[in-house]
Amino acid sequence: MKRGFLGLALTVLAAMGLAQDRTQVLVYGGDFTDLITLDPQVVYEFSGVLIADNLYETLVRFEGNDLSTLRPGLAESWKVDRGKEEWILTFKLRKGSRFSTGREVTAKDVVFSFERALALKGPGSFLFTEIAGLKPGATKALDPYTVEVRIPKTASPQSFLSILTFTIGGVVDSEEVQKNAKGGDYGKDFLSSNSAGSGPYRLVRWDRGSQVLLEANPYARVKPKTPRVILRYIQEPAVLRTALESGEVDIAEGLTPEALKAIAANPRFKVLRAETLRLQYLGMNMKAGSPFAHPKVREAVRYAVNQDELIQGLLQGNALKIQTFIPKGLLGYNPATPYAYDPARARKLLAEAGYPQGLEFELLVSTGICGGGVPCPDVAAKLQADMAKAGLRARIRAIANAELLATYRAQNHQMVLAGWSPDFPDPDGNATPWADYDARSLAWRNSYQDEVAAKLARQAALETDPKKRQALYKVLTERVLHQGPYAVLYQPAQPIALSAKVEGFLKNPMMSSPLWLVEKRP
């Protein structure tokens, strides 16, 4: 009886301690309404990936903002062998990694997780099936600490390793998940709102639309600096700012450029510009009969966009000027910016192409927000004004993003203002969609059929020597820059406001954030 009372008293005290010591709790405010599942093999939304990254570990991982050097995760070492028919990747697991259930992570769990990804066919499963060519049964446990994965020769082992850093490669506790599986769902229902990983945190609860609560995983190899994390849904930017200023949140994502300016001037706060791999671009449909089928017209468009003013003015500097299609941060990034704003030259090119009186066309834009947090119609209006000086008269048609995508996919546009993020942190995540017509992605949508570019993209994807690979991408990006159907506008940065007490926060270009490294000073 006495002991029971003592235990209760201790629990109450512990709870009070947790409730009061604010340095032990990190509160992250933002619009998390895209969160629909936390299952690592299914999740594909920004918020879900952000959280699942902190719950699960992958075999290999990237560190900080560097997306070109793979580092050990659950695997302490790995090698890639060229087999007769396939690539053979062998991973050696480190001993002593434990799930939040206390079980040790073994090769069996890795096999289960990979097979699970293939069986569940989540929105990110094409990374395994199409990009890496992974088949059921191709992942084997050679012993409790050795995993072998075989992928076809046509796939790129580099891409596969990059994909493995993504949540889809997150390793789940196979016993815990099978215990909670219902009717052959591989525990999909269970893992959507519970966690069974070896990451630094475990999921305590998720109140949909309200908050997500994470707590240190007691068995984790990596101990978080802040034992408790709360992600609070705050959609309204003005309210988010108030919450940051009153100390209710420590990290605020989604403030307006004006609010960020004011926050940055206040010494109690700081603003971090997270790099992204997103590109905002104009797509020009080259199908027969379209004015944009003429290379000089596309050239004219590239001379008629004023990138500097767009970035410094509208975007308040929250973006990088770029003209090639591999974003900064990935291997193969090409910093060339040969096109400067030159309306006279654009006019001349138009005349040479047979449009001495200029040209009128429709510019399709989303009514939503473009990269850098600016409404797309505002970006379009700026482009319209700049292009008009060169005789390119755009009629802006602003429609819902879903409708824009449907139109774009059906090749029913003339010019479109759109955004693109690679599906995995590898240059091939951009090269194939942008350059290979047969991939039925961006090149196809803009009727850009270029066998040379497509071949270069395929060759670069399979090249394992980084130097040679970089050289191939240089040739490819130059070619698409001058001949392709795109005018790349900018690579947005994502500004995040923090309390000055917060140390060690980072968001990498794949939008993942190692929250376990964050510390809160009193």
């Binding site: 409730a19 629909i36 959507s192 309204e236 108030t242 209710e248 409708e403 449907a406 599906d423």
Partner: protein, 335 residues
């Protein structure tokens, strides 16, 4: 009486069916493919095809509607295209928050509107009446988002009197979920700190949401009371020498209650379904936010689920109001 209630419940069912019919066919008029909307810009063709098959979007329209009705009779509202969960589960998650907020706002409306209306009627064309009418006009015409931001800035940010958005201080441990209404759950768990905090979090959004209803109610009560107060029997009561309190409470208010009751039913229904802005600004995880997100991603099973729920609640509230009539006015009988 029982027969009458049954008949009305039958009508409610028909209303519900009508609602599903209209929302379903409206959803088909919109020229956007929900599969593309759900899967986003990088989706592959196969993914889109698979998605259509999984949710039956590839079947003919009437077949889709038939399947929907079939499931509905088993109380299955289908699966949300956006969250991938059963819509009924989602409603269970989001409705309690809305109910908590709507009931609190309703209480605000009653506590402010009722006395203010009575007071204004008793002091017709004198300063109290003018004050109430002015306030009612102001509150009734201030946009919700403006009032919300203004009060948040003043009472939360500058004065620190009331907590900001959300349902509970993030540094407090939330009570175990029983009803889904945080204040009630805290009470059930006996967690007084959480209960107090949850109530404090309710004050601002409830006031913002309830203020327009309070204003409307005050004007309605005033008008109804004025009419009653000018009648002969009230003069007689005054002549009998009763106090103002007795005149109002025992004689006038009961007779003024009928038109007000009609309004109350509609008000509560409106509060339950019209809290989108309040919920957004106060980060309140309710039905309003759920349905706006569903609508923007063309998640029609979810939109239909919410519409159906709101329709049924409206029908039930109307029934309740009609039954209360009979209670208040002995001349009304239902057979």
């Amino acid at each position: 009486m029982a027969a009458y209630v049954l008949k009305r419940l039958g009508y409610a069912l028909l209303v519900g069916l009508g609602i599903t019919f209209i929302t379903f066919f409206v959803s088909q008029v919109i020229p956007i493919d929900p599969a593309v909307a759900a899967l986003g810009e990088n989706a592959r063709e196969e993914q889109i095809r698979e998605f259509r098959e999984r949710y039956g979007l590839d079947k003919p329209l009437l077949v889709q509607y038939g399947l929907y009705l079939q499931r509905l009779f088993r109380l299955d509202l289908g699966r949300s295209l956006r969250t991938g969960r059963p819509v009924a589960e989602d409603l269970k998650e989001f409705f309690p928050a809305t109910l908590e907020l709507a009931l609190s706002a309703f209480l605000v409306a009653l506590l402010l509107g009722l006395p203010a209306g009575v007071w204004a009627a008793l002091r017709q064309n004198r300063p109290p009446d003018l004050l109430v009418r002015l306030l009612a006009l102001l509150l009734g015409s201030t946009p919700v988002f403006f009032l919300a931001i203004l009060l948040l800035d003043l009472l939360h940010r500058r004065l620190g009197l009331l907590p900001g958005p959300g349902r509970l201080d993030p540094f407090l441990l939330p009570p175990p979920r029983v009803t889904g209404m945080v204040s009630l759950d805290a009470l059930l768990a006996g967690d007084w700190a959480a209960f107090r905090d949850a109530l404090a979090h309710l004050v601002l959004p409830a006031f913002v949401l309830g203020s327009a209803s309070a204003a409307l109610l005050a004007r309605m009560v005033r008008a109804a009371m004025l009419e009653v107060l000018s009648q002969d029997y009230i003069r007689t009561v005054w002549a009998k020498g009763l106090s103002e309190r007795q005149v109002v409470l025992r004689h006038a208010l009961k007779n003024a209650a009928l038109p007000v009751l009609t309004l109350l039913g509609g008000l509560l229904g409106g509060l339950l379904s019209g809290a989108v802005l309040t919920e957004t600004i106060f980060s309140w995880p309710g039905l309003g936010r759920y349905v706006t997100q569903s609508a923007t991603s063309l998640d029609f099973p979810a939109v239909m689920g919410v519409t159906l729920l709101v329709g049924v609640v409206y029908s039930l509230l109307n029934l309740l109001v009609d039954l209360l009539y009979a209670l208040l006015d002995p001349r009304i009988r239902y057979a």
